[in-house]
Amino acid sequence: MAEITVDAREYDALFEDLGCRLYLDAQIDIPPDVRQGLRDAMARESHPIARGIFHTILQAIDVSDRKHTLVCQDTGIPIFWITIGRGVVVDGTRMLDALRRGVERATVETPIRSSIVSPIGRENRQTSSGEGIPVFHVEFSGEIDHIDITMMPKGSGSESMSFLKMLLPADGVDGIKKFVLETCVGAGGRPCPPTIIGVGIGGSSDVCVTLAKKATLRPVGERHPDPKIAALELELLEAINSTGIGPMGLGGDTTALDLHVETAWTHITLNPVAVNMQCWRGERRRARVYSGGRVEIGY
């Protein structure tokens, strides 16, 4: 049994601190794979305006490293992806409550902008939280023996570019490809390209959309383990970049840093596809919480 910790107060403090730290650090420190992807794209770029944009992007990352400030002003929707490993004993309710308090503390104490409002009255509690926010995706895995928590602060420029289509089986994989290409060209400069594109294929509608968003968490340059899906990823990525939309939609060789596909089986009559985009910052921060409360922080 991997019991995370026994003392309730310690337990609360552990996860609250994690919620606070992950939410802030994700907005300050860009993941190394994203940095590398941006540097590689800048080296390949042939358009002068696009090269200038890459220069400013890398400068923004550098300023935030030095001054420990947010890279972007959009503090986003706080989203946690939590995987609970085999044999882990955890009070899930307490853990989620503590993570939420951590996000609220980060917002109030730093302070940073609370980007969260109620959907009809547009009321802002100034805490980056509200009904249903932070978003928690919780799943279980037999492949790990710890708790894996990945925080994604999702900015609205890219989140606005989210699409679902319930295609027909007769539309086939070609229909999926067309949908992905059309949505990416239609999005133009709005999601702050070069983006990381997530594509969900299969499942029910809710699963499909979730897969698309989860796909944007995979590090830049990492391919799907299934060679057929990996080939589809590269084919679509190359096709999107050949359209020349470029950084910020002002033209250039790189419109997407990467494209990731995640799949689930679906109904015989369905062929669902979803697209979700992440802006060039590819913000994410991860913690692994082990037995006894030991924590490893990564990306």
């Binding site: 992007i57 923004a60 900015g155």
Partner: protein
């Protein structure tokens, strides 16, 4: 071409700018966004400051209260938001208030492009998401008008070497966004052929 321009902007200097030029501004940049513009145009309230010759920024500010700043606020992270949300206010800003430049990300519509040509204005593209750089170029928040709209007030930012900004839509009616979109459509047809997809766009 690269230009360094002081504000308020001179009409001739703005009309001379062409898409692809780089502009760096010194002086005052006015931060506005949804609620500010809704109050001016839908609420019928005159702007509380003179915007003639002005450079407006579609801003998303994180600020902190300050006892030493004259406005009572200092910038923590000042960034730029998506312009298309505020697209319908473009013509009114140019026609009624003499605005010469709108700074934002993602671009404006063809209708706004026509208005820029008619009244002599430009759209200057900033690098979205690079707010940490932008914040370093804001020297001070000089004044905050309509504080009740916080954070969607009218912000008077004192800027130094603000940019480089790309002239993405100019006063001759040219728009990089329109050109890039048209080229992307053409190239998409090639992609469809290459991948053997039917019903090319």
């Amino acid at each position: 071409m690269e230009y360094r321009l002081p504000t308020p902007l001179d009409e001739g200097a703005v009309r001379a700018l062409r898409v692809g030029d780089a502009v760096t501004l010194d002086g005052v940049v006015w931060g506005i966004r949804d609620a500010t513009l809704i109050r001016i145009f839908d609420g019928g309230q005159a702007p509380p400051a003179e915007l003639r010759g002005g450079a407006l920024l579609h801003v998303a500010p994180n600020v902190r209260r300050s006892s030493v700043a004259p406005s009572g606020y200092e910038p923590t992270t000042v960034g730029t938001t998506t312009s298309m949300r505020m697209d319908r206010f473009t013509e009114g800003l140019l026609r009624d208030h003499g605005v010469r430049a709108i700074i934002g990300k993602g671009g404006l519509s063809d209708a706004s492009s026509a208005a820029l040509a008619r009244y002599g204005g430009v759209y200057l593209a900033i690098v979205g998401g690079a707010a940490s750089v932008e914040t370093e170029q804001v020297e001070a928040i000089e004044h905050v008008y309509w504080e009740d709209l916080m954070p969607e007030c009218l912000w008077q930012f004192r800027v130094r070497a603000f940019g480089p900004l790309t002239v993405a839509m100019d006063a001759s009616g040219a728009s990089i966004y329109r050109d890039v979109a048209a080229r992307a459509r053409q190239r998409l047809a090639d992609v469809y052929a290459r991948l053997g997809l039917r019903d090319a766009p």
